[in-house]
């Protein structure tokens, strides 16, 4: 394992410190317990948005703290959910009195820790709503599992709910639009090569030179199945097929197409995937109204990508277009 790190145990703290130095105009870093807060939080009258989860998915979540998106990001250890004693003070700090929305990816650890923090915050008089993100169609049978995982759709939920909060929507409305985004987005990922967690020192799984893992999550946990390596168009077909099957859209509907890199795949390859995905969606009669291509929710240096399709309505489109100014996503502000 070769990584640009010092002590594996200090990865999150040092990285967040560096992030704070680079983006001091946007955020303040609360050192202990560690969380990243929008510089001007709490914003008077605005619903606060808090997200978080294991580290290793950068720029998620710290990169989305700022105007029009999150008020706070709570980073756990690499691929390990944060604890209530981080989430609670972050929640209290961003509460302006209008309440706080927790955006939580559906992993048992994240769900339980945010749930405890929410209970504690409620006990301190802060109104908390939770948007659970579970867009990963790779998990087939939710009845016999912890349910679908939260993956690429998280970025879209954070952007759109963030815009709703910024324009002054009330607590239930912000949570509601976040839930609506989640209900309308599906994602499927693929890994070409695994990543290595710093404190583990060995790759999370082994893939031979000729295999890929379809339905990968964002922690190097296994996917649906392994198949022999295919070309980009073939892989794109395989990722879109379950996404579209699950979304069940009619011809003429509008979508946002999000091709996300897992961290170790060149941007040029993501555009090759995007190109074919546009074609496939076009053939399905769908209109790609908005798009996003890049490394937005990663799994360290994993090679691979995910494709998310969000069924847009006018309000979501308007909120997507609304100004955002964060370290990793910026327009109109």
């Amino acid at each position: 394992m070769k990584k640009l790190i010092n002590d594996p145990k200090a990865v999150v703290v040092e990285s967040v410190e560096g992030f704070g130095l680079a983006h001091a105009d946007l955020v303040t870093v609360h050192p202990d317990p560690i969380f990243i807060m929008r510089k001007d939080a709490p914003v008077a009258g605005k619903v606060g948005l808090v997200s978080g989860g294991g580290s290793g998915h950068e720029p998620l979540h710290a990169g989305y703290v700022g105007t029009g998106m999150l008020d706070a990001a709570v980073p756990g250890a690499v691929f390990t959910s944060p604890t209530p004693d981080q989430i609670l003070p972050a929640t209290l700090a961003v509460n302006s009195g209008a309440g706080v929305v927790h955006i939580v990816k559906n992993y048992t650890g994240d769900v339980l820790n945010f749930e405890m923090a929410a209970e504690l915050a409620q006990a301190e008089g802060v109104d908390v709503r939770t948007v659970l993100v579970n867009d990963d169609v790779a998990v087939e049978d939710s009845l016999y599992t912890a349910g679908r995982r939260g993956v690429g759709g998280t970025v879209l939920v954070e952007k759109i709910a963030g815009a709703a909060a910024e324009r002054g929507d009330a607590l239930d409305a912000v949570a509601g639009v976040g839930q609506r985004v989640n209900a309308n987005v599906r994602t499927m990922g693929v890994a070409l090569a695994a990543c290595t967690v710093p404190h583990a020192g060995v790759p999370s799984f082994e893939l031979s030179d000729s295999e890929i893992e379809i339905g990968i999550g964002i922690h190097g946990e296994p996917g649906r199945h392994r198949i022999p390596m295919e070309n980009a168009d073939g892989i794109t077909d395989r990722l879109l097929e379950p996404v579209l099957a699950d979304l069940k859209l009619s011809r003429g509907e509008k979508v946002l197409l999000f091709v996300n890199g897992m961290g170790g795949t060149p941007l040029s390859e993501l555009y090759i995937v995007f190109r074919h995905a546009v074609k496939v969606l076009g053939e399905a009669g769908l209109s790609v109204e908005r798009s996003l291509v890049g490394n937005y929710i990663t799994a360290l240096e994993m090679q691979g990508c995910s494709i998310s399709v969000l069924h847009l309505d006018d309000e979501m489109t308007e909120l997507w277009d609304a100004p955002v100014h964060t370290a990793a996503l910026r327009w109109g502000a």
């Binding site: 959910s81 048992t108 339980l112 049978d141 599992t145 912890a146 995982r149 583990a200 296994p222």
Partner: protein, 223 residues
């Protein structure tokens, strides 16, 4: 002399648990690497080390207060699924223990049952889902049975530990239906659940601590 366990026992239990978790840190993470994300030993070690650190500066005077301290440390330091689950277990055990200076067999069994109920309430797993519930459930049941049979605290803890160990072993063939391992579906069968394994280790440490004369059961001749 009494047939109950006081705060000294609770403290030596948690110190012994910290030691056994540290000793099994790598094994537990290996179990987790097979069907999860490979951090369970690391996570628990962080939490139990924090308990030991807290105990170096505070000396709670009742078992309930010790459990509360442990609960807060675990919740704030472990993260992942195990943090809230173990945290809730100890918090419920603390509540069940109240401010009793000593836990008699009945109170001890009640505390274990409360812990088990806490895990179930928090994680919503049923028995057989291949989680730590599969260690805690038989443990709580065995403790209750021992109390019904008129056993003393050491026997109650011995019964709980043995049941937890058997429960952990019994997770091997199961297919996970909760937690990260559930994503593997049938590929999770053939592996031991890491949380059940750590639960068995921790409950065994409780029994061992009760067996040591110095550790809160003066004399050790009772029961």
């Amino acid at each position: 002399m009494s047939a109950g366990l006081d705060s000294r026992w609770a403290i030596s239990w948690l110190r012994a648990a910290a030691e056994v978790v540290a000793d099994h840190r790598i094994d537990l993470s290996e179990l987790d690497r097979a069907i999860g994300d490979g951090d369970h030993g690391e996570n628990l070690d962080r939490g139990f080390s924090a308990i030991v650190e807290k105990l170096a500066v505070e000396t709670p005077q009742t078992p309930g207060a010790v459990f509360k301290l442990a609960a807060m440390a675990l919740m704030s330091k472990v993260g992942g699924a195990a943090g809230p689950l173990y945290g809730t277990a100890f918090l419920r055990a603390a509540t069940a223990s109240g401010d009793a200076a000593e836990l008699d067999p009945a109170l001890l069994a009640a505390a274990l049952t409360a812990a088990r109920d806490g895990v179930v309430a928090r994680g919503k797993a049923a028995a057989g889902d291949k989680t730590m519930v599969d260690a805690w459930s038989p443990a709580a049941a065995a403790a209750a049975a021992a109390v019904a049979a008129g056993d003393g605290v050491v026997e109650v803890l011995e019964a709980a530990a043995a049941a937890a160990e058997a429960g952990a072993v019994a997770t091997d063939p199961l297919t996970a239906r909760k937690g990260r391992a559930s994503y593997l579906g049938e590929r999770s069968a053939g592996h031991r659940d890491p949380g059940a394994a750590s639960s068995a280790l921790i409950l065994r440490a409780a029994a061992d601590a009760a067996n040591q004369p110095a550790a809160g059961r003066p004399g050790g001749d009772a029961a």
